[in-house]
């Protein structure tokens, strides 16, 4: 089955890269690239299948494109259950794409211990692909941990000045919350065993459990906390700014581009379908959390002096929209969430790549030390302008389509949340344009670091992929939403409490 092939090839690539590491950095880079290439080759049939499935256009295509289930621990009903639907295909595609981007950005930036770096990079990718395709809760948890460790290593080994603090904080936050998830997972399985007599960790069986009581609410909360920590929701978000500022550029791209999406995917896949009534009851609180994180993170982003920290808070603000979209739980807002996830993946990867390039050239991330970069590096600044505009949600680019659909969908369920979140659209340009003003416009301040080297072709190629991706998402979101249509509708039906129509 392709997904297992993708995961295995990524891991193999990682191991090969590590093996070749000591010999020569170039060899390990090529090994990593080979691993990723094999994974992409295995991914294409899946994509073709998904496209053909939606070819029928009526959204009646089969939901589960390919499914495989191998016995793993029969006693507890744990199976290697990999299943991929429209949503998973898109997210795996995004992971592989951003894998390439982070590989390209690592080309010049990572010099010491390359082999080990590519090992960590590819294992994180494998973990994330596993998370998107595992439908056995236990397997999901395993991959949830697999993607955490290498990311922690990337930050600790190749990070910037106080990377230990950031990596540890990141690790503790995610680990603690995932233990909560493990606990509620086990109790859920127990509940299922009591109700149906069979022990099984598979998502399909657990769908049937009746989780309407108080216990169901607490279990949902357990899952919710784990995912909100990963998708930084406001109360538990403060690991992200530290992790981002201290992570190396490829690390930030991975972190912002993919790891945040696992939180959003988790919310989408596990909260509503498994606990419909509890989620419905929890919606107002979750919506307020979403709105607060939109506005509060936007205000904080404006106050930052470090570029990467500013972008980190910006992604928290964007992810606040995702929480809103998911808890509105109707067709428009869910498709909007998916578009927002992909668009944010691309735009924040771009922003972080450029922040990394600026740091490489001027050796500083502080906005007040930068100034007047436009005349020195026009191409870099033009691309930064593009990504800043994409981040503030200009129509015609991916972010706007996502945000608009989310707000439109949320307006159906709770108008107040949508209206207040719409204020986020006003705050977005405030923080997005501050970077342009302080770093690129204006005259270089006396002690501003000057830089002569504009973009190198391979850097332009890297950013060009993201630019094209965002434009396609902005003008032809249909390419994406058709793929995820069947999967999303089926998910939505599962997520609605019994008796409520589509």
């Amino acid at each position: 089955m392709q997904v297992i092939g993708i995961i295995v090839s990524l891991m193999a690539g990682g191991l090969l890269a590590m093996a070749l590491g000591p010999k020569s950095a170039q060899a390990s880079r090529l090994a990593a690239l080979a691993g990723l290439a094999v994974a992409t080759i295995l991914f294409f049939p899946l994509l073709m299948l998904a496209i053909s499935e939606t070819g029928s256009g009526t959204g009646a295509g089969a939901v589960w494109l390919s499914q495989i289930s191998i016995e793993w621990i029969p006693r507890f009903g744990i199976r290697l259950l990999f299943a991929v639907d429209g949503i998973a295909v898109i997210l795996i595609g995004l992971t592989l794409l951003l894998g390439y981007i982070s590989l390209l950005s690592a080309w010049s930036e990572i010099t010491k211990r390359c082999g080990f770096f590519y090992f960590c990079l590819l294992f994180t990718l494998a973990g994330v692909v596993g998370v998107f395709s595992a439908l056995d809760l236990f397997l999901f948890f395993v991959f949830w941990e697999v993607m955490l460790i290498p990311m922690f290593l990337i930050i600790t080994v190749w990070g910037h000045e106080n990377r230990y603090y950031a990596a540890l904080k990141f690790f503790i936050y995610t680990q603690a919350s995932s233990l909560l998830m493990l606990l509620s997972m086990l109790v859920l399985v127990h509940m299922h065993w009591q109700q149906s007599g069979t022990i099984s960790f598979s998502w399909f069986d657990l769908l049937e459990t009746d989780t309407s009581g108080r216990l169901g609410f607490w279990l949902m909360l357990g899952f919710f906390v784990a995912f909100v920590v990963k998708l930084p929701g406001i109360p538990v978000h403060n690991w992200l700014p530290d992790a981002h500022t201290q992570a190396p550029t490829p690390g930030s791209i991975l972190l912002a581009g993919i790891l945040l999406k696992t939180g959003a995917y988790g919310l989408l896949r596990f909260i509503f379908p498994l606990f419909p009534e509890a989620a419905l009851e929890f919606t107002p609180i979750a919506m307020t959390l979403g709105v607060i994180s939109v506005l509060y993170a936007a205000k904080l982003a404006f106050a930052q002096n470090d570029i990467k920290r500013l972008i980190a808070y910006a992604s928290i603000s964007h992810m606040g929209f995702v929480t809103l979209g998911i808890f509105a739980w109707n067709a428009i807002s869910l498709q909007g969430t998916l578009v927002q996830i992909v668009a944010h993946g691309l735009s924040s990867a771009g922003l972080f790549a450029i922040a990394g390039l600026i740091q490489q050239r001027t050796h500083t991330r502080a906005l007040d030390e930068l100034g007047g970069l436009w005349p020195q590096v026009p191409r870099l600044s033009a691309l930064m302008m593009f990504f800043a505009i994409a981040a503030l949600g200009l129509p015609g680019l991916g972010n706007f389509v996502g945000e608009f659909m989310i707000l439109l969908g949320t307006f159906q369920t709770s108008p107040i949340a949508a209206v207040v979140a719409a204020l986020g659209m006003v705050l977005a340009p405030v923080y997005a344009l501050i970077i342009m003003q302080k770093a690129f416009f204006g005259t270089p301040s006396a002690d501003a670091k000057s830089t002569s080297v504009d973009l190198v072709p391979h850097e332009i190629f890297m950013l060009a992929i993201l630019v094209v991706g965002l434009i396609i998402l902005g003008f032809w979101p249909g390419l994406l939403t058709n793929l995820s249509e069947p999967g999303m509708l089926d998910l939505m039906r599962n997520g609605l409490p019994a008796g409520q129509g589509g």
Binding site: R379, P395, L408, T443, F475, G478
Partner: protein, 615 residues
Amino acid sequence: MNLLWLIPTLPFLGFTILVLSSGRMSRERARIVGVGSVALAFLATIYIATQYYAAAAHGLDHGAGFTVSLWPWITAGSLNLNFSLYLDGLSLSMLFVITGVGALIHLYASGYMWDDPDYTRFFTYMNLFVAAMLMLVLADNLVLMFLGWEGVGLCSFLLIGFWYKDPKNGYAARKAFVVTRAGDTAFAIGLFLLFRELGSLEIQEILHLAPENFEMGGNMPTLISALLLGGAVGKSAQIPLQTWLPDAMAGPTPVSALIHAATMVTAGVYLIARCHPVFLLSPIAMTMVASIGLITLLVAGFTALNQWDIKRVLAYSTMSQIGYMFLALGVEAWDSSIFHLMTHAIFKALLFLTAGSIILAMHHEQDIRKMGGLRKQLPVPFWCFLIGSACLIALPPTSGFWSKEPILLAAWEADPIFWYGAVFGAFLTAVYTTRLMLLVFFGTPEGGIPKTHEPKGWQLHPPLIILAGLSLVAGLFNLPAADVLPHAHEHHPPLWVEITGILLPVVGIFIGWQVFLKGRWQALRMESPAFDGLRKFLASGWGFDWLYDILLVKPFMALAKANRNDIVDLVPKAVVVASSQCYYFFSRGQNGQLRFYVATMAAAAIMIISLALFT
């Protein structure tokens, strides 16, 4: 008719070519691409217009429009928007204004910006602007219009902050973007409400569904039209959100001509004209539109009187003329408001371009106190400026008269107060225009008549002459927009109303002439210290800037500075501190004295035994 998609794509194509060339293209080629793309778009518009009239000729009922659907854009659940363009009389007339005036301004700009280092970048943004404006006007559904709406806002940000060396321009650009973005958010919320109520965002569908679903004067249509008005007010710089327009003058003059006079600021008027059935459903909204128009035209009139920068005077006069258009929309004089929009685009572009020539001649000096008696040195700009001002004051033969007069009459029909305000506004316009004319071209400033050098480049004068000719002749066109918008019923107000409407501007000219050239009634110039407070208040745009600064900007900045690193971050730090405190407290217990340990053992023994015994 299916070449309609060509019109927006031509400037967009110009934009992509200029972006991809990114600096490797020479000035000449950049000029050809930049100006050529808009000129081609104008030709395409003419071609489309001929097809439109041909179709209208053999029997197609006037109101019907043509839709060209390109590809499905956003489809999810019950929402399916597709990327489709819609052409009818209204959008055709807007096309004429945008591409026609736009092409002339581009031609002028190619000469004006000749020795600017970022030549290609300038035309990249200008082409993107024209493409976005065309998309706005041709959009079939409101979300596509929103795309054009925000694209236009972005380009105005880019162009205002074009000379990015000076941080003030950057600030003005960000201010324009954020203020218009506030209006756009109101527009977006209006869209959400519309979608929830009517279930669709296609403009034509809404215009049909609205009368059926909403009852006259109900609070839903009022709310929706208020929100749409919010968007329009943001983009057209009307009262609550108008503080950005004067600062927008920081951009190059052709930008002010194209964006802040002819096209972008009229987007709000186009939106209201396009959605007039929704507005018609709620009289309250109509009066709101009219009153906002009236207040803005008066406020802008007074402020223009006290400005010393030539471009700021024109900016406030633009704000006041758009106030007239809003007033016309409010009093249901739909077609005359669009007509005024067109004529205003022409003569205001003319005024701005001539102001550009003057500034260029005066080595980038914009303060009219330093100018004077330029009529001999700059003949062409002088005559063009004269014609432009005549139209602005709405003297009878010019197009300004033909477009402003029906607005005044319609205002009288609707409500005499509107008429009195409008007429007084006309008088103010006359005074400040003559003031501008006299201070710039007549009289002698203290330092003697400044020496000016005649700007070279053939591209500068032809557009001025064409625009001057157009602004004289434009009064005679009857715009295709008329057949889309509901026909204004014939006005027949009392005779004295019409005469005062015509005579008052002449009186204004006379007063202006007396005060500013002859130096009589100096008190009126309000220069004496007694009026200092009032003059400063009026000059600052009635203190809106100061108000918003206190209300919004300062608190936000203070809040941002106060909470630079995230109080929520203190929670984990607090946990760390608490655990280290506990450690310190308990570790003091190990003080190395044996007797202390024995004592604790004894105490523990006592506790355990008593616990065992008594529980």
